[in-house]
Amino acid sequence: MSHLNNFEIFLLLTIVKIAIVLVITLMSVAYTVLLERKVLGRLQNRWGPSRVGPFGLLQPLVDGLKLFLKEDMMPLAVERPLFILAPIIALGCALISISVVPFGAVTLVHGVDLFQIANLNIGLLVILGVTSIGVYGVALSGWSSNSKYSLFGSLRSTAQMISYELALGLSLVGVVMRAQSLSLRDIVASQSAHGAISWNLFGGLQFIAFFIYLMAAYAETNRSPFDLSEAESELVAGYHTEYSSMKFAMFFMAEYANMITVSCVATLLFLGGASSPFGHLFDHIASGPILTALISIFWFVAKVFSFLLLYIWVRGTLPRFRYDQLMAFGWKFLLPVAMVNILATALALTYHG
């Protein structure tokens, strides 16, 4: 690569990184769906998908093909431009927010970090901002469908996402105060000193913030037990009732991509990101640049995977909240506790930090 100047190398590597991250994210979205169906099946004492390929491993591909080949129905009374725009906003925002996530340890090739698309110094705020723009996908889909079920679903979902965004954002303030930076790399670096002991979840004493984040994240992604926006016994399918074929698939993919993003953020902020839980204890065994990079990616993927399993486990275990319970829980419990956590963290940092 000697005949290319620095900018060309940066541009080429960034395009390659974007393509690889996009493909991997979409594949992991597909296989998260399969994982959910399998694990949920086993939780309910049945097999789950098992016909296509060994253990049903080809099921996501066949599902994608089926959705792609289905007829794209467009009801007559919809608001056409917004009806088409809504799933694009939802999926676009879900995929954009993954671009600031660092997947592995810092690995520089010609000055370009291999395991992160963009290292912004306000990375955390970018994720929060893009997530809050994603609300438009849900809101507009419900309104433009011109159907009462869609409208109710999207009203519920929008109100829920706005309410829980506050608790979500406030729960992260303690972590930011400890790291003294909004850059995700710095936040990871602030917890990687002694392995699991220095993670924000354990050593940082941010476990209250962690549980607030966990509950707010479930509500933010419209997942069980807060999946009131698509309560099938009341609302048919919620905001995507009128959607079919690829447009429905885009909403579906956006939901799972959001799950993955939320798990990534939880991993980065509370579980030390791509750092090993044993700290630098076994560094002398696995030396060499390639092996170190692979091990850091392994830890990151393992942490995200356990979060996804937790998501599915919760969905298989807990019943759905009632709507007033949901709102009271968010505003009267999570929000005050998050504020108390901020105060306590600030006091502790002032007197000990």
């Binding site: 917004l82 901002g129 809050s132 609300v135 809101a139």
Partner: protein
């Protein structure tokens, strides 16, 4: 690079603002306003104020405008009806008034330019210095009184909203 960003998003902001005025459906107008907010966020970013840009997206585009759209959806507001004859005062005073305000603001900003301080396109983009600590330092030391007064004002507004809503019950 930055001048291209500035031109594209400056034009987008103006186009969004004009579209906001010309659209007849409230939800289309609200979405045009979202476009204006996002373009402004990019302009802030290109001036090196990345925290302001993120706050603009999160607070205005992500919360305030969502509430606007929420209310439009909840009330199921239809297209506005244009009356055949507008207010005559608006026709007489509108364009000169707008031009006067524009002239006044540009005069104030241009004459006070030395006191306001200057920033350049792409000012802090290359360096890794975050301006969050600077903003918070200014906000909690020299601007503490206006900051606290503003928060009390917002608190009063919230209480007023609660009082008004309780009467309906």
């Amino acid at each position: 690079m930055e001048i291209a960003l500035f031109l594209i998003f400056g034009l987008l902001a103006v186009a969004g603002a004009l579209n906001l005025l010309f659209q007849r459906h409230p939800i289309n107008s609200a979405l045009s306003l979202v476009v204006v907010m996002m373009s402004l966020a990019v302009l802030y970013w290109s001036l090196g104020a990345e925290f302001l840009a993120a706050a603009q997206v999160i607070v205005y585009a992500g919360a305030v405008m969502v509430l606007f759209i929420f209310v439009v959806m909840l009330l199921n507001a239809g297209e506005e009806e244009r009356s055949s004859q507008g207010s005559r005062i608006a026709y007489i005073a509108g364009i000169p008034g707008a031009a006067a305000i524009f002239c006044l603001l540009s005069f104030v900003f241009l004459s006070e330019r030395s006191h306001l301080g200057a920033t350049t396109l792409g000012g802090y983009l290359s360096s890794a210095v975050s301006n969050i600590s600077e903003i918070s330092h200014t906000l909690f030391t020299s601007l503490l009184l206006p900051f606290e007064v503003t928060s009390i004002l917002i608190l009063v507004a919230i209480l007023g909203a609660v009082v008004l809503a309780r009467k309906e019950l």
